[in-house]
């Protein structure tokens, strides 16, 4: 037994390799828990892919969906969400959401009717929401029938969402290709808009801190024609009762646009700017923004493992070849790196 464990450890020390064991295709529970990387694929001419990573074993299986189903998931795989034994793959440029069995990634259903779906969030036992960028709404999904049953108008370019599972869901309206500055608050019991809250320009992502306070990261507006008209990003804590801003931190310049907010413990994490920003870490109780990055490397996207605080950052290289994911501990020490698909982006955990 010790020899077997030693052999396995030796494999791990030499990095990861694709699991090419076709005998386990379709094996129940093969992908039941771990880290899931959604790689977008080249816009129009590339298929999105799913990579499954097991951090304990440091093994990765790439192209999981096409391995298990024999056909590509679609173009621009944006998000992977979970609800019980089901996984939901949001495919932005195909306008679809693939529903698969979470353990085997075998296809169960394909939900159509979206315009430009972005992110998936479970809001109750019965329903989930999918933000739909160009439709300026969120689609209400029935988690039993896997159908769109309703839609809720939001602001421009609804992006990431958070839900307390008890009837309150917040939606960041990122402005899509233009500009917006509101968070939509929805009563997810009856799918009605409760309130529209004014925050900073182009709110992009939301998280609950360990005290249950919702935070929104606003990237700021990027004026490509007249850069001097660009605005600074903001990090805002909302009051969970009134939903209004309770604490606002303004970023120091108008030209870096922070993105992708995550939380672990008492800490908030985000990328200092889009397309190559470094991971920044701050205590949620702090009244000032950090100036020193946690990682030495910049990333296209990143996420934080809610089970242990490990940080995963994605490197898309030239956006036309296999990307890389780098795993750090929550103090910024590099633990591992592995190859994924083309343009690795959103990372989910189960």
């Amino acid at each position: 037994m010790k020899k077997v464990l030693f052999a396995l450890s030796a494999l791990a020390l030499f990095g990861c390799s694709d699991d090419d064991d076709t005998n386990t295709i379709g094996t129940p529970g093969k992908y039941s828990s771990g880290t899931y990387i959604a790689s977008e694929g080249v816009f129009q001419t590339g298929a999105g892919t799913v990579s499954y990573y097991q951090p304990e074993a440091k093994t990765v299986v790439n192209e999981v969906f096409i391995r298990e189903n024999g056909f590509p998931v679609g173009n621009v795989l944006q998000d992977i969400g979970f609800n019980g034994e089901d996984a939901f793959l949001v495919v932005n440029n195909s306008g679809t959401m693939e529903v698969v069995e979470a353990g085997t990634f075998k296809s169960k259903n394909s939900v159509t009717g979206f315009t430009s779906p972005r992110y998936f969030t479970v809001v109750s036992n019965q329903n989930a929401y999918v933000s739909d960028w160009f439709a300026d709404d969120v689609k209400v999904i029935d988690l039993t029938s896997f159908r769109i049953v309703d839609s809720i108008s939001t602001g421009v370019g609804p992006e990431k969402m958070i839900s307390n599972g008890a009837g309150i869901t917040y939606i960041a309206n990122s402005g899509a290709w233009t500009r917006d500055s509101v968070v939509t608050v929805i009563n997810s019991n009856d799918h009605e808009v409760l309130k529209t809250v004014q925050v900073g320009d182009n709110p992009q992502s939301l998280q609950y801190d360990e005290n249950g306070n919702p935070w929104v990261l606003c990237s700021g507006y990027a004026d490509w024609t007249t850069p001097a008209n660009s605005t600074a990003g903001k990090l805002i804590m909302l009051d969970p009762t009134t939903h209004e801003p309770a604490k606002t931190l303004v970023f120091p310049d108008n030209f870096n646009h922070p993105i992708h907010l995550h939380v672990y413990g008492s800490n908030l994490f985000y990328l200092s700017t889009n397309y190559g920003g470094k991971v920044m870490k701050m205590d949620a109780n702090s009244t000032t923004l950090p100036t020193t990055p946690l990682t030495d490397k910049g990333f296209y996207n990143f996420s934080v493992d809610p089970s242990n605080g490990d940080i995963y950052g994605t490197d898309a290289k030239d956006f036309n070849q296999t990307g890389l994911v780098f795993r750090y501990d929550m103090n910024g020490t590099l633990l591992d790196s592995f190859a994924t698909g083309i343009i690795p982006s959103t990372i989910s955990f189960k």
Partner: protein, 630 residues
């Protein structure tokens, strides 16, 4: 919903107007003087690639044996020296040659580079092939032709036909076309008027997951109007030529087959080109003045009608060339070019660019030996392009053989988008530079030409767009690409007996093109064939004419390519080969008039293929044309 269904009434009107004009011009042309109504072929000067190329005749793309091609993209596909990337028939199509990418091939009409100065590429679907004479000269010609002439140069010149014609056509996928070309004289002026209109639904079938689908949102609609005029100027022993060329294209943009299908995005192109030249030739001096202007307006509307982009560019050129014999065997030439480009796009700053080029050289010819050397200096605004020399030679050997070779430095300067895109344009991005060379043998006898050359090139400071420090994508000089290969071509024309004519072409290109250096960390593309570039391409065409009957066939094979730079297996585009057949019959109506009918079966074996990943091309399809020549 197709754009054609939405514009059926205007479309009918658009067809009626050209047809009326076609018929009117046909009437006028039939009454006008027809003697000496040829637009004289431009007499090339030394500093042009026709003499710098080791293949002095180039590859005729407009007269390739086998099948008649509708536009330049079809002709380039049916050619072993180029590889095309196309979103579908009539859709945006770019092409590459000898490992150079799409913005490293030069396309010139009367010396005017017709590539978009903002995008840096020429859409081959917008060039109507049989209204022009188009020839390709492979290899680098930067010293003579200037910017972009790295992989090859395409020279578009006047239609060499001496006759006028009207042609009506129809084909698969609701394709309809009409065109006319009329040569006539008005006083001392010799004129040619040409017009072409074509529309197609392009609703061809394709398969995904073994389920048949119909291609949606791929309709296209083209108009071309070309007017040329020429007059002799005896006082300077020369002539003047003027040309005007207008193109309008309205095209739906099909999504890839794994993307959302729905309401179409549309691309609307208006292009207007104006060009002129004056030449004079005496025993001691030959000079030419050339001027050209191109105005391009491109409007893009996305499928949600929520994002519109407009791109308006102007580029112009003024050139003067002079040559003179120094000795009976040696000529000298000198030339100066001024180029001006401007962009008014919504995504680019209003920006302009000035180029000044000086080039000069010597040409030697004596007893079967030819050699040419050219030097070029060019400045783009305040940036100097490195000194660009070029040398070519050919030496006749015995028994019809010739030894040929060429070497030179090449360059491509950044586009207006590279320099001025909002945000991310990099005004300091350097021109791409490098070298190219070729050496080979040529054999010519009995109407047969056989040519095989080994070629090699390297491009430094290769421009690639990547996210920069500010988070915006920005062009950077971050790669080096090397290319090598062997290009072999067999051409022949034989007349057997009194009535049988054979013409044929067989060609093969082996081309290995790899990224050799990169500043991208962990770049796995190093050492691998660059994307969308096959290592092997084969083309064969045969045309047999017996009495009035013409039979043609052609075959094109393209080896596998990859859509990702590190060759992920899932990005492979499988190798494919397509067969085309044609049969035509000409019936004389008098001494100078005849009518003809031609049926073509394209992709006869119904081969499923794509040149861009997830953009299927049509399966088996046909076209039928009826023409009237006079």
């Amino acid at each position: 919903m197709s754009i054609l269904s939405g514009i059926e009434e205007p479309l009918k009107m658009k067809y009626k107007l050209p047809l009326l004009w076609v018929l009117s011009l046909a009437f006028i042309a039939s009454k006008a003087q027809t003697t000496d109504t040829i637009i004289l072929k431009e007499i090339p000067l030394l500093g042009e690639s026709t003499l710098l190329s080791t293949d002095e005749n180039g590859y005729s793309l407009s007269q390739s044996p086998g099948v008649e091609c509708r536009d330049l993209s079809q002709a380039l596909y049916s050619n072993h020296t180029t590889h095309v990337r196309s979103y579908g028939p009539g859709q945006a199509t770019t092409f590459s040659s000898r490992g150079a990418n799409a913005n490293q091939v030069g396309v010139f009409w009367n010396q005017l580079n017709i590539a978009s100065p903002s995008l840096g590429v020429t859409d081959a679907s917008l060039v109507p092939l049989n209204l022009f004479s188009v020839s390709q000269y492979t290899g680098g010609h930067s010293a003579a032709e200037g910017n972009q002439a790295i992989g090859s140069s395409l020279l578009i010149s006047s239609n060499e036909s001496t006759s006028s014609f009207v042609q009506l056509g129809m084909g698969s996928f609701n394709m309809y076309s009409g065109k006319g070309s009329f040569a006539y004289s008005l006083g001392s002026w010799k004129l040619r008027s040409q017009i072409s209109a074509q529309a197609a639904e392009n609703n061809y079938k394709y398969f995904t997951r073994d389920v048949e689908h119909e291609r949606e949102n791929a309709a296209t609609h083209f108009h071309h109007i070309i007017q040329e005029a020429e007059v002799s100027i005896p006082s300077i022993n020369g002539e003047a030529w003027l040309g005007a060329w207008y193109t309008n294209a309205l095209r739906e943009n099909p999504s890839s087959i794994i993307s959302k299908q729905g309401n179409p995005s549309t691309l609307n192109d208006d292009q207007f080109k104006l060009s002129g030249r004056v030449t004079s030739q005496t025993r001691k001096n030959h000079w030419k003045l050339t001027a050209g202007l191109q105005w391009q307006h491109q409007r893009f509307t996305d499928f949600n009608q929520q994002f519109k982009d407009t791109n308006l560019t102007i580029n112009s050129q003024l050139s003067g060339q002079w040559e003179s014999p120094i000795t009976p065997y040696l000529k000298i030439y000198a030339a100066a070019d001024y180029l001006y480009s401007r962009t008014y796009g919504t995504a680019t700053r209003h920006a302009d660019q000035n180029n000044i080029a000086l080039h000069y050289g010597l040409y030697f010819t004596h007893k079967g030996a030819k050699a040419q050397i050219i030097f070029r200096h060019e400045a783009i605004d305040t940036t100097f392009v490195p000194f660009i020399p070029s040398l070519s030679f050919s030496q006749k050997l015995i028994a019809g053989f010739s030894f040929v070779g060429k070497a030179g430095y090449q360059f491509r300067y950044p586009t207006l988008n590279d320099r001025f895109w909002i945000q991310g344009g990099n005004p300091d991005v350097k021109p791409e530079t490098g070298y190219s060379g070729e050496i080979g043998l040529q054999w010519e006898m009995w109407g047969i030409e056989l040519r095989s050359v080994y070629f090699t090139s390297r491009i430094d400071d290769y421009i690639a767009w990547n996210p920069g420090p500010s988070g915006f994508w920005t062009p950077q000089n971050i790669k080096q690409v090397e290319s090598k290969g062997i290009e072999t071509t067999l051409n022949g024309n034989q007349t057997l007996g009194k009535r049988l004519q054979l013409s044929y072409r067989l060609g093969h290109t082996w081309n290995e093109v790899v990224t050799t250096q990169s500043e991208i960390a962990n770049d796995q593309s190093i050492g691998k064939q660059i994307i969308y570039t096959p290592e092997n391409k084969i083309h064969g065409g045969l045309e047999v004419t017996l009495w009035a009957l013409t039979l043609g066939s052609s075959y094109t094979f393209t080896s596998e390519t990859f859509a990702n730079s590190d060759h992920r297996p899932s990005s492979k585009i499988e190798a494919f080969g397509t067969w085309d057949f044609s049969v035509g019959y000409q019936y004389p109506l008098g001494k100078t008039m005849n009518t003809g009918i031609r049926f073509q079966l394209l992709n006869a074996m119904d081969q499923a293929y794509e040149t861009l990943k997830y953009y299927p091309m049509p399966g088996r399809n046909y076209s039928l044309t009826l023409d009237f020549k006079f």
